[in-house]
């Protein structure tokens, strides 16, 4: 039996100065790169495919398969782009990973670029995390100095340039085609697919875009083998992954476990919901994944099981809210987020999110009007599947799922302000009133 927690990516986060190359190497860092460079690129792709690694950025697409879509007969340069634009509300795993152990990512970048025969790789990191940018810049410089990047890597004849690129504040740039437009120096707006990035991505060349955690998992797969990786997790959701627990819990934090652990198991380890309170609703993988309730504590947190309860595993961002929290208020604030972050390219999302906010605002104030719930659902119906990219779909998830589980609160919004039903200070971490009062 596999242990409940399996630190691999997080294993060195407790080390002194884990971000330094020498400390990373002392733990066996860059040995995977040496092994990979002895393999044929196609064999690296096959190994990652066989491991069952699926994208950790939310969609869960098999990583090795994505790599195999790169047409090797295309004469254009091939590019690897790491999506380090972590911005999905609730998601907070890639930032600590890059802060603590940027070399895990950099080693993964070099191996992955080698596998797809790319000579240029980009790490597109959101701009609002200055110290993470510093650590990445330094790790890449150290990798060049050690001969792991640049020309003729470890005397194998393989060349790779790695560019750390800071974004400028736009959630939409986490959408892979918007990220590419942004990286080309344009507004970050999504592209129509097909063509898919594997065929025509950055500069219309074959491009692989992977999440930080996906790429960071590659060195461990090379070192330990595909069987080792697939010995963790479930039949279709293999390997270890980082779950991020936040909100009204006794102890929030990062938990690296095999795919398939349940929220109940994680909460048990974390000391449960904050004292004197109980779980009301939670997200399995960020605000764009439909919310769940305490009925779903035993749902296995793997791609299939979460889909089985009409949500998505997403980024494994477990945001927990207790009974002091107004669902209407929470959903309003998420909807304001989507409205702010809508890129404006397509009408359903640009206009739809604006109207959703208008309705939710009056509902929060207790001034909901008859038919508002139906209007919300109708608007969502006109956004879902009709928007240019997944941002619009994501914007509808909190609303439709909240109405499904907490319709009575939306009914109450016709006459009573949310702050009267759920006094807001009781939800804060610095609440001073006695517990349960």
């Amino acid at each position: 039996m596999t242990d409940p927690l399996t630190p691999v990516l997080t294993a060195n986060w407790g080390d002194e100065r884990a971000w330094k190359l020498t400390n990373y190497e002392r733990r066996g860092g860059y040995q995977a790169l040496r092994s990979a460079l002895q393999m044929e690129p196609a064999d690296v792709v096959a190994l990652v495919k066989d491991s069952g690694l699926r994208g950790r950025g939310g969609a869960g697409f098999p990583t090795g398969m994505k790599w195999s879509f790169i047409p090797q007969d295309n004469p254009k340069p091939k590019y690897l782009v790491v999506n380090a634009d972590e911005s999905e509300p609730g998601t907070c795993k890639d930032i600590p990973l890059m802060m603590a152990s940027p070399h895990t990512l950099v080693e993964g970048v070099i191996i992955s670029a080698y596998a797809i025969r790319s000579n240029t790789a980009f790490i597109y990191v959101r701009g609002e995390v200055l110290h993470v940018v510093r650590r990445l810049q330094q790790a890449v410089r150290e990798a060049y100095s050690a001969g792991y990047a640049g020309k003729n890597i470890l005397d194998t004849g393989y060349d790779l340039e790695i560019i750390v690129h800071a974004g400028a504040g736009a959630y939409i740039c986490g959408e892979e085609t918007a990220l590419l437009d942004s990286l080309e120096g344009r507004r970050g707006q999504p592209r129509l697919r097909p063509p898919f990035p594997a065929v025509a991505g950055l500069y219309a060349s074959p491009t692989v875009i992977n999440n930080v955690e996906s790429i960071s998992s590659v060195p461990s797969i090379i070192s330990n083998g595909d069987d080792w990786f697939s010995s963790m997790g479930t039949e279709k959701s293999k390997g270890m992954t980082i779950y991020s627990l936040s909100g009204h819990v006794a102890n929030p934090g990062q938990f690296e476990a095999p795919l398939g652990i349940t929220l109940r198991e994680i909460l048990d380890l974390a000391g449960g919901i904050r004292e004197g309170h109980r779980l009301k609703f939670w997200t399995p993988g960020g605000s764009s994944t439909p919310m769940l309730t305490d009925e779903h504590l035993d749902v296995r947190l793997d791609y299939e099981s979460v889909a089985g309860v009409k949500s998505m595993l997403g980024t494994k961002a477990l945001q927990c809210f207790d009974e002091t929290t107004s669902v209407v208020r929470t959903v309003l604030r998420w909807t304001e987020f989507y409205k702010h972050e809508s890129c404006g390219k397509c009408t359903p999302c640009r206009e739809g999110t604006w109207w959703l906010v208008q309705i939710l605002k009056r509902m929060e104030a207790g001034h909901g009007e008859e038919g508002d719930i139906e209007k919300l659902l109708d608007l969502c119906d006109n956004i879902l599947g009709r928007a240019f990219c997944a941002l619009g779909d994501g914007a509808t998830s909190p609303i439709t799922s909240a109405i499904k589980y907490f319709r009575d609160e939306f009914e109450a919004a016709m006459h009573t302000p949310a702050w009267e039903l759920f006094p807001y200070e009781r939800s804060t971490i610095f609440v001073r009133e006695p517990v349960g009062a």
Binding site: I163, G185, D227, S231, Q319
Partner: protein, 279 residues
Amino acid sequence: MSRPEGGSLSNPLEPLPATPNGHAGGDIASEELVGHGHFVTHFDEPSLDYSISETKITETTLEEMRSIAARYPQARSALLPMLHLVQSVEGRVTPAGIEACAEILGLTAADVSGVATFYTMYKRRPMGEYHVGVCTTALCAIMGGDEVYAKLQDHLGIGNDETTDDGKITLEHVECNAACDFAPIMMINWEFFDNTTPEKAIEVVDQLRAGAEVQSTRGAQVCAWKEAERVLAGFPDGRADEGPTAAGPSLLGLRIAEQRGWKAPDREHVADRKDEEAK
């Protein structure tokens, strides 16, 4: 009423005082509303102030811009870092900065302006020395971000995206900054200030205004906003080694695993088991 103090945060019914720049006074809900409820989007925000023509961009800046462009297979990819560099010199995006980017990349000023106005980190008005961002996306808002933001507004006497008279602090509510396990989060010049409270936030901004050195809870000592922008443009400041590897919540699962002796399977063990299964 038990609403948070100072919080007209999302109450559309309260009157919205207008400020001289045409924005209503600083609360979250009011941003979309000007005057008599006329709706504006961010596309209607004041454009660049072309009345200011002086610039601090020098030949050195232009050289650095060219060096950024040379990092990329195609020069236009350099536009985002170049705009960060403009801000590091000018304290905001200026018309002269736009022209310089356009000139070097062979674009029109309209092309560059179109990009600069898309991203929230590019500022059209002069920034204070310290950008204080309070996360008010759902989880942080609920866990106290709204109160932190409201108390800072009261304490500093400024609204959203406004700067104190001494030029020290620009306050803004920001979207999720990927540190939800440390909620509520405040960012100062994009360094983390974790588990913040109204009292802690006020103490930190007071220290900054008094010229004291302030340490991020999980990063480096806070530098000036322009210096931070220079790092984002790709010019390291040599401070990557400040701060811890990780802190508190980031280590929780790892510490529990260590205490209980839990770890990932060993490679040999997996291989043996596979051999057995094969037999």
